[in-house]
Amino acid sequence: MFPADSVRKGRSAKKRASTLTAGLALSALVLSGCAQSNREEGDAGASGDVDGTFVFAASSDPKSLDPAFASDGESFRVSRQIFEGLVGVEPGTADPAPLLAKSWEASDDGMTYTFDLEEGVKFHDGTDFNAEAVCANFDRWYNFTGIQQAESQAYYYGMLFKGFSDSPDTATYKSCEASSDSEAVVSLNKPFAGFVAALSLPAFSMQSPAALEEFGANNSSGTAEAPELTEYAKAHPTGTGPYKFDGWDVGNQLTLSLNEDYWGGGEPQVTDIIFRVIDDPQARRQSLESGDIDGYDLVAPADTESLAAAGFNVVPRDPFTILYLGMNQQVPELADPKVRQAISHAIDKEALVSQTLPEGTKVATQFIPDVVNGYNEDVTTYEYDPEKAKSLLAEAGYPDGFSVDFNYPTGVSRPYMPTPEQVFTNLSAQLAEVGITVNPQPDKWSPDYLDRVQAGSDHGLHLLGWTGDYNDTDNFVGVFFGQEKPEFGFNNPDIFAALEEARQVSTLEEQTPLYEQINEDIAEFAPAVPLAHPAPSLAFSERVESYPASPVNDEVFSDIKLKK
């Protein structure tokens, strides 16, 4: 009845003690007042006198330990410790960098990529990582069938490689060949400029072909919406990373321990990682304050200052997010470009950022953060100018302003939008200054809000945003404005076509001018107001000296520095 994947040593009980004893013990405790907690501070780590056990609060269990079938942050956080891909990212940035592949070379037509692999690397099960293993992984993804292709499963492969072996006409991937032990050649059917950057996603981690086979990683069952985890995905993730999987006590905690044979060398101070599941943000904060955990992610903006003042280490991530105010052009007033410009001029982004968004947030001028390819320094901007906004409104035929629905979600916290209610209140007041009255339309995030804003036309102004998956422009603007969507309710074939074209260009250098132009076109058309690039923060106990914060969450705990 009890799953085998829980953390248990399985020693059998020698003697049955009665529950009465427990009851008595508790009464004794209640009667005697409260004794000081005698929790241990953990074992001393491998590196000298530092406690090598690192406890991190996760907001949920991972969805799956098989990263090819995961797309959520908590799964990826765990994956990044156990697995490595061919490509990693440059520390602290979103740019691709060598990892299991020492280097790579693309053919001129962008159709073949030759990867030169690290040698002497072994998976946790002792099998060799080599070009054959690389091809086995690519072929595995390509040959996913049935429910494995569902969005709930191979989401990223489906999204980025556009098709599987049963639809070779649309598929980007063609074949993989191991030309030697240390050289793998991947061929594509069509150019894909974001190919290398995409490989930095944990979904494309290299997994041990032997372990995948042994523990039935491909024996998917269940249905597309309720896929059952395979034995591999529950208890046997096998990669090349600095940490090995120990156990998963579902709903409670997941433990990893140091991979002593790690190829990358170094002497990590963190020898054991415990991911504790604490879904309530308030509980995470309290857990840190009481010393039960060493750190957690997505600190509420209201907490950053007080935690820092209390001596905790608050680490902001470089923003890789965008928060925008959408304007649905199905609403007659918002269809008028002058009105959209007026709204753009009516908003004081500086004030919004300083009043409602966390430390480290940058004001946005366009829909991509400045580290993404195609960021346009000279893009048209709409300075905060309420007078100009009023006169534009008058020109558009609304000298006394107008009223419009303003949709916003409640009780939700996203990395790009930690406190939607506050942002709504702030923006409403600013719009009122120029005569635009808003009708508040609050909705629960899922499914109400997302459905209302993304699926139907029954909404006016709205708040939404995005966190980038990896460094790719199309992953931002293409998602928002690449086709006709009910969210913005406009049809601008020129922008759609330009985005389609840019996506298919084979090199980043050629893409840059195209995206710069697209960002300018979008700014002029103003389908939405880019508000800010909010910076999500992490918080750690005092003993954490440094944490390798990454804009794309590429954080491996072996890089954590602890105080002696």
């Binding site: 003690a17 529950t19 009851g23 013990a25 409260c34 059952e228 579902v250 415990i274």
Partner: protein, 334 residues
């Protein structure tokens, strides 16, 4: 007695059949149908057709119903949409946590509630009475999350006497035999682990047990007051029975009937109370799991949970009725 129990267990069957029909109809009538509930409004017609086929939603209702009941009878509660694990396995791993918490909360509520209620009644109209009335009023009106916050803030964060959340310190490498952590520590003689699990239970148990405690105080007080004024007590006094005997055998025993009923009802409610408490204390039991299921509309889990609750409620009620028999022999005859 056994016949009564047997009869009651038999009556569970029509209850469960009725419930299974209601549940079945509920899922079929989710807004947009079950496929849309799973996929969301934006799902393509093909995806919806696929789901209908995969789940058999395209078959006649009667056939669907019997398939569903057939699976239930085989212990197949389906697979959680959120976690991808069998619902029964999910329950099995989380159930011990909730039971452990509920038991300690009950011990807390009964252990303090009955003496306090009795004390109030026997000091009717005086200091003890007034303070217990005020205390129980506070206990009922203070929201659980607020109480939890205060408890954590003062006892865990400021004073550091108790941990803020979870079931056990993750740094303790404890052996788990039954998944009742306190018991496990005793069984394996890992006293530290047991002690740590107890410390982790104290705050959530107080938070969870406070409302039942307040209600038990009030019912005990009212019930004792009523019995104290009953004719048979007056008669007993007139006969010159010792006060100790009167209190123990007449008053307390007779007053316990409504209190037992209340305890039974409160035990059932503890499970729903656990939803909030377990969330606030990051306690990995059934309550927290249910909350996630509600948010995600994870209907295999919700369905399984309702069946589970129905059975649990029926069994608790049965237990209450059986204990009536022990408290009051007249009930046994009926």
């Amino acid at each position: 007695m056994l016949r009564v129990i047997g009869k009651r267990l038999l009556m569970l069957i029509p209850t469960l059949i009725g419930l299974s029909i209601l549940l079945f109809l509920w899922v079929r009538n989710l807004p947009g149908g079950p496929a849309t509930a799973l996929l969301g409004d934006k799902a393509s017609p093909e995806a919806i057709a696929n789901i209908n086929k995969a789940y058999g939603f395209d078959r006649p209702l009667i056939e669907q119903y019997f398939t569903y009941v057939g699976k239930l009878l085989q212990g197949d509660f389906g697979t959680s949409i959120v976690t991808g694990r069998p619902v029964l396995e999910e329950f099995a791993t989380r159930f011990p946590a909730t039971v452990e918490l509920a038991v300690v909360a009950l011990i807390f509520a009964i252990g303090i509630g009955i003496p306090l209620g009795y004390l109030a009644a026997s000091h009717y109209g005086r200091f003890w009475d007034h303070s217990s009335v005020v205390l129980s009023l506070i206990g009922i009106t203070v929201p659980v999350f607020f109480l939890a916050f205060i408890l954590k803030w003062v006892l865990a964060i400021q004073l550091g006497w108790f941990p803020t959340d979870g079931r056990q310190d993750p740094r303790i490498d404890a052996t788990h035999v039954t998944d009742f952590y306190v018991l496990d520590g005793l069984l394996t003689r890992e006293w530290d682990a047991s002690w740590d699990a107890i410390l982790h239970l104290v705050l959530p148990a107080i938070a969870l047990g406070t409302i039942p405690l307040a209600i038990i105080v009030r019912i005990t007080r009212a019930s004792v007051l009523e019995v104290q004024g009953a004719d048979y007590v007056r008669t007993a006094r007139a006969k010159g029975l010792m006060e100790k005997t009167i209190r123990g055998r007449f008053v307390l025993r007779n007053a316990m009937l409504p209190v037992t009923t209340t305890i039974g009802l409160q035990t059932g409610l503890l499970i729903s109370g656990a939803v909030l408490t377990e969330t606030v204390f990051a306690f990995s039991g059934i309550g927290r799991f249910l909350r996630d299921a509600i948010f995600a509309l994870d209907y295999p889990v919700l369905q399984g949970f309702i069946v589970f609750i129905a059975v649990a409620y029926s069994l608790i009620n049965l237990l209450v009725d059986v204990s009536y028999g022990f408290i009051d022999p007249r009930v046994r005859v009926q």
